[in-house]
Each structure stands twice: as C-alpha cells, then as structure tokens.
Symmetry: C2
Subunit: 408 residues, 2 copies
C-alpha cells in the first residue's frame, strides 16, 4: 500500500461480493469526502480534487463459503478535510460507514505531520518514570477493590495498605462517581497526607490516580484543581467522555500530571469480530494521539482478554516512532505475581503491572499482596526465577501458592 | 421483571453455560458496585447495602448447539452510585463489562425520578414544530450533497435551491469539518440572508442545522454564538464527541435552538449481533435523555439499515412517557418521495422526512426534488395516493418514475 502525507489512510475489513468491491470502495472515497464526482464538470473536479478521497488498495483476503469474499479496502482521506481532532477524524473515516453492515475499521495510517499535530502524551513513559524516580524496573499499580460507599477513613486505610506494600501508583475504581462520602478533591487531599506518611516510612514515592468525574464542561477546571491539590495522575474514562476530552486535557499546560486512560465502554466497539473499530486503533493509536500517558487495556492473560495478536499491535502503536512520546501500557485483568515474568517478556521493562484482585486477594491482605508483586518484579529484573525469589519473600511464596507461576 | 425506583436496571444478552449464569450475574451485581460482598463483616454489609447492585432476573432464551445458552441477565444498579450523566451511567453498566467477551447491553430501565434528572429535549417534537410554524404534516429535511471544498457562493446557491423546493430544515453534511472556505459562523450568516430571501418568496420558514465542530472545550461557546447568529438548529456528532457534550448543550439556556443528533460512529457499537449496545438504548434512550430534539438514525428502508424490530424500539423510546419531551425521529438513508406513505405508516405524522440523494438525485435538480417530497407529504396528509397526486405534480411524477412508489 502506498500513501503520501496528504492522506490519512483507513483500512477496513468488509465482506461482500468480489465484483462489488471496487464500486463500494469508490463510493466510500467519494461519499465520505466530496459527495459526488463523476457527474461534476471538469472545472469543478479540478477545484474539488484536493478534498476528494481515493482508493488506495483493495485486497481479497479470503473466499467465504457463501461465494462472497472477505477483503481489506484502504481509503485515503485528504488531511485538509479535518483538523487534528479525534471526533473529526473518526466521524470522517467511520461515521456513517460504521452503520454500513458488517465492516470493521481495522487500521489507520496517519502522515507524520498529521500525527504530530496531536498533543500525544505530555509525560510519556520516561516522564512518568521521572515523576516517580523509578527507572530500572516495571512499575506497580494497585487498584482500589472497593470505593463506593466507603467513608474517607476506610479509604485512607486502604490507600495506606497498598502504599506500604510498595505500589508506585494507586488508582481509583473507574466506577467511582458517588461523591457524597468522599469527593475527588477530598480524596486527593487525604491521600496526599497518607502518602507523605508512607513515603517517610518506605522511602518510596506513590502517585494517586484520581477518577476525573463530573459534567464534561467542568472536567478541565476540575483536572487543573486536582493537579494543583496534589493528584498524582488523572484517571479518565476516555471512551465514555469522548476522546476529545482527553485531547483537551493533554493540551492544557495547567493539567500538570500524567493522564491515565481507562478502557471502559471500549469493548462495545472492538469486541465483535468483523465489526466496530480494532483495539489497536482505539487503544494503540487514538489514546496515544489524544495524550494518554498511561493506557489501561485488557491483558491477554485474564478473563477479560484481548487476542494476543491484537494486543501486540496495541503495544506496537503505543511505542511506534511517530514524533509523539511513547505511552506506558498497563495491561489489566487477571494479573497476579506469578505472571510478572510473562508480562516482562511480552511488554518489556516499560510496563505497568496493574492489579486489583491479585493484590487484595492475597491471603495476607493488600500490603502483602503489593509486596509479593514487588518481590516478583525485583526477581525478574535480577534475572532470578520467582520460585527462587520466593525463598526470601514469604509474601511472594504465598502468592505463588495461591495463583501459581507462569515463567516466561 | 420487578424493579423499584432506587435502581437502574440494565438487561444484557449473554452466551454462557447455564450453570454459570447465576455466578456471573452475582459477579456483575457486586463487581460493578461495591466490589466485594460475601467476605465483608455483617456490619459493613449493612452500611454498604445501599450501594450494592442486585440480580433482578435471569432468563434463558435459547439453547445453543454447543450446549451453552443464550440468556438475558438483568442487573439493578443503585441510582445513588452515579449522577444523572451519561458517561457515569454507561461506565457503570457497560464499562468493564463491555470487554467481557460476547455480551450486549440490550436494554435499560430507568426510574422516572432518575430519567427526569436528565435535561431531555429542550424543544421536543412540539417545540420544533412551533419554531417552524408547521403543525399538521411531516417535516421535510434536506441534506447538503456536498459541503467540503465548495466556496460560499456555491453553498448559498445549493441552500437556496433546497429552500425554494420547500425543505423545512436543511442540514450540513456531518463530515463538514474544514472551515477554510466557509466557517460555521460564515455559513450561518450567509444562509440566514438566503433564507430571508426564500422565505419572502415562498412564505415558508426554513431552519439551517449547522454542524457544530471544533475542540470540545469550545463547543458550548460556539453553540451559543451560532444560535445568537441565527442558526436554526445545531447538528452534533454526539457519539464522536461524547454524549455528555449533548447533555451540556441541552442544559444550557443560552443554546436556544433545537439540537439534532447525528448517529455517526454509533454503528461501531450497535451493528454487531450479540455485542455492544443496542440501537434502542443508544438512539432511543441515551440521545433523548441527553437532550436531542431531533434524532437521526437509520431507516429500515435503505442500504444503511436497522432491523425493523430494533427500529421500532428506538421510536418507542423517543416518545415513551418518561417525564421528558418526546424527540422527533429522522429516519435516514435511502429515502425518496415514494417512501413517504410508508414513513407515515411506520412513524406517524411526527416524523422528519430526511433525504439527500432522494432530493439531489431528482432529474430536475434539488429544488424539484424537494418539491416532489412536499407533494408526496401533502398527498399522504390528504389521504390521496401518490400516483393520483403525481397528476398535479410533475416533480412527484418524475420522482416516482425514477424511484417508484411503496404505498403503505
Ligand atoms: Mg475497576
Ligand atoms: Mg452525510
């Protein structure tokens, strides 16, 4: 496939009669740009040409039992047609088209100049490490088990246990919207004090990722306020709020903390084979363009999974050389200490080991659960096997007894 | 299914082992609310009970060839857990769950008090009619065929043709993001003048629905400005921008014009059987809660279709008695004058007949195309057949010759 830097190229997987493919591709290229073409006078065509889409490629991938084919169609959309904002990009390449039967937006190719017009991560992987002062190992993130309904003192106690166990980051539950017992501002203040105490004890910095909630029109002000109050990072339900909200936060210099994108609701778009938008576009490309420093998405290990190949493509895009800072992957669901070797094999050292049940479900409680993870992380960095490391760490030994080990 | 007004009840369609259903339902009810339950002390349970979800119903619908079943699971989520904002609602009921394999959010039941906490349509069907001064017939909306790349004088000429033909509303293409030749503000000003001229000639009011574009942080100010300048309505790519943007516009008294929601990108969520979110939730419930006065969504007649049953459920929800104003349906794609009897049969008189190709593709051009629609609309209101009406309307006769008639 060829492409030049005047075009965003979207690749779709469709199922159709082979002989219909060319007509369908032409219909997309014209219908989603200038609206009509062949019936225009030559002079008008000349004037409209810079705005007209073009068919880049049509490749038949598979012949289906019913006589039709599965094919990839690549369409180039002139970048002059839309600004570097995700709603404009998505509406153009998969707005009306998303309703055209069985069709999947499988991939996007963005010209470097277009990608660089997006903010991308403000901190990126290196920036998050710098804030934490941790450069030589995977990071550990602990997820609150319960949030809703707990009074502040119990939340602070839970925060403290996770921090004392060694978590680098502690994040809210993404479903934490009730503000009656503990508002985001109150949590940031209370956890900031708790973190001072635990940092004095352990010498380890801990960042609290607060769930950014409220009406969309107030999110930017609230993000600034939470950052000012001492939030370590902002957790954003980016697909529920809209990806332009993420971009607006990334572009705002006063939002001076890392942005952590949660994948909530994204499964409605990527989970069905042959429909919707691929996870690599959603998590790998759009979240990074929009400025997520940390991208939470399904690991290939747990029950909430993403197919290994697609998961690999997400990772590729989070780090691909496109002029923007690389984002940190936080593969999630089903993570326990025994998986750390596999995580490092699959994601490298620049990964956030993100666990909820794998920390709180530890027989010794959350503090022991976080310790078990840190022991596993240090073992992998040192090139030791987990079973060997478990001899020095009763917490890791207990975790292995509970969940087992999958050495890489 | 029973439900009380303390719970939002979400119904999911899942495929699973029958013996797993109860465990899975319990896992959802607890996992997406309080996080844990059975291991909590009794006193803590008592305190957390108001926030804990509950299983409302489990119904096996079909036994699958592989031994599993297709079932509906209904889960009640306490309304105290989230405010009346769509991102909070969606993140709770289909955030993480959207990534749990094959599962579809099929329906939502909202307590009346919760629904009424949303703005709903500011104008509603009656309000839009009042603005137009048209009370006794379906409304006609014409869609610009081309927008991108055309200079203002050609856009004004196209607007004028559509208005002279009798369109009540004229809407931008939803992919119109390029502002270099004609910004939204410039279009509103220019079409306002054009509308004054056509209204003087025809005596008929016409509303221009301008595509609301730009960074999300500027949309509300721009919406106010466009309304102030004389926009007739605002076209919003609500799924691309996020549904809370729609709600924020609906809640703003200074955005003093009807809101028209475009379905762009929604196909990524509803199109796949068994996955994602049903069209009736997206178009019928969420868009109305969020405040769309006019809901554009696929008709069951064209190529971009929605299954007839689902389409009927959308319509049901747009008008259901829930304390909010009813929204106007604008079923779209493949609409030509010969379909007007069917449209009125299926949607009643409170419908927007929305056409692009069916107007611009008329052999006599857009003005004749709009006239043909108006002749068809008047015929249906008068109880005349289209063929009979075509004897008095050469434009309708030509349309029928081109596209045929489907009498209801
Ligand atoms: Mg969670
Ligand atoms: Mg259009």
């Amino acid at each position: 496939m060829t492409a030049d830097d005047r075009f965003v190229v979207a690749t779709y997987v469709v199922e159709d009669e082979e002989k219909q493919l060319r007509k369908r591709a032409d219909g997309i290229a014209i219908g989603l740009t200038v609206g009509s073409w062949t019936d225009l006078p030559a002079a008008t065509q000349e004037r409209m040409r810079p705005y007209c889409g073009r068919v880049e490629d049509i490749t038949v991938e598979e012949r289906l039992p019913d006589g039709r084919v599965r094919a990839r169609i690549a369409i180039g959309y002139p970048v002059v047609n839309f600004p570097a904002r995700i709603p404009a990009l998505l509406t153009t390449v998969f707005g009306k088209l998303s309703m055209d039967g069985k069709i999947r937006l499988a991939g996007l190719h963005l010209p470097a100049s277009f990608a660089r017009a997006f903010p991308g991560p403000k901190f990126g992987a290196a920036g998050v490490r710098q804030v934490l002062g941790v450069h030589d190992r995977p990071l550990l993130m602990s997820i609150f088990k319960s949030c809703i309904g707990l009074p502040m003192d119990e939340l602070v106690a839970a925060f403290t246990e996770q921090a004392l166990g060694g978590a680098d980051l502690i994040k809210d539950d993404e479903i934490f919207f009730n503000e009656s017992l503990a508002s985001p501002e109150d949590r940031v203040r209370a956890y900031r004090e708790a973190a001072r105490r635990t940092e004095a004890e352990t010498g380890q910095r801990v960042l609290y990722a607060v769930n950014l909630t409220g009406p969309v029109t107030e999110l930017r002000d609230r993000a600034r306020r939470l950052a000012e109050l001492g939030a370590g990072a902002l957790l954003i339900n980016a697909f529920a709020y809209g990806l332009d909200v993420l971009q607006a936060l990334a572009e705002d210099p006063e939002v001076s903390v890392p942005l952590m994108a949660h994948p909530a609701v994204a499964g409605a778009m990527y989970a069905a084979p042959g429909y919707g938008i691929s996870a690599s576009v959603l998590f790998g490309q759009l979240l990074r363009l929009g400025g997520a420093d940390i991208v939470i998405y399904p690991s290939p290990y747990g029950t909430v999974t993403l197919e290994a190949e697609e998961s690999g493509q997400v990772l590729h895009h989070l780090r691909a050389d496109n002029g923007l800072k690389p984002a940190l992957p936080a593969p999630s669901a089903g993570i326990h200490p025994g998986l750390v070797p596999l995580l490092v094999r699959d994601y490298g050292m620049d990964v956030i080991v993100n666990a909820g049940g794998g920390i709180h479900g530890h027989p010794g409680g959350a503090r022991a659960g976080a310790r078990a993870f840190m022991a596993a992380i240090r073992a992998v960095v040192a090139g030791r096997s987990l079973r060997e490391a478990a001899e020095d760490s009763p917490e890791l030994a207990a975790a292995i007894q509970q969940w087992g080990v999958r050495e890489a």
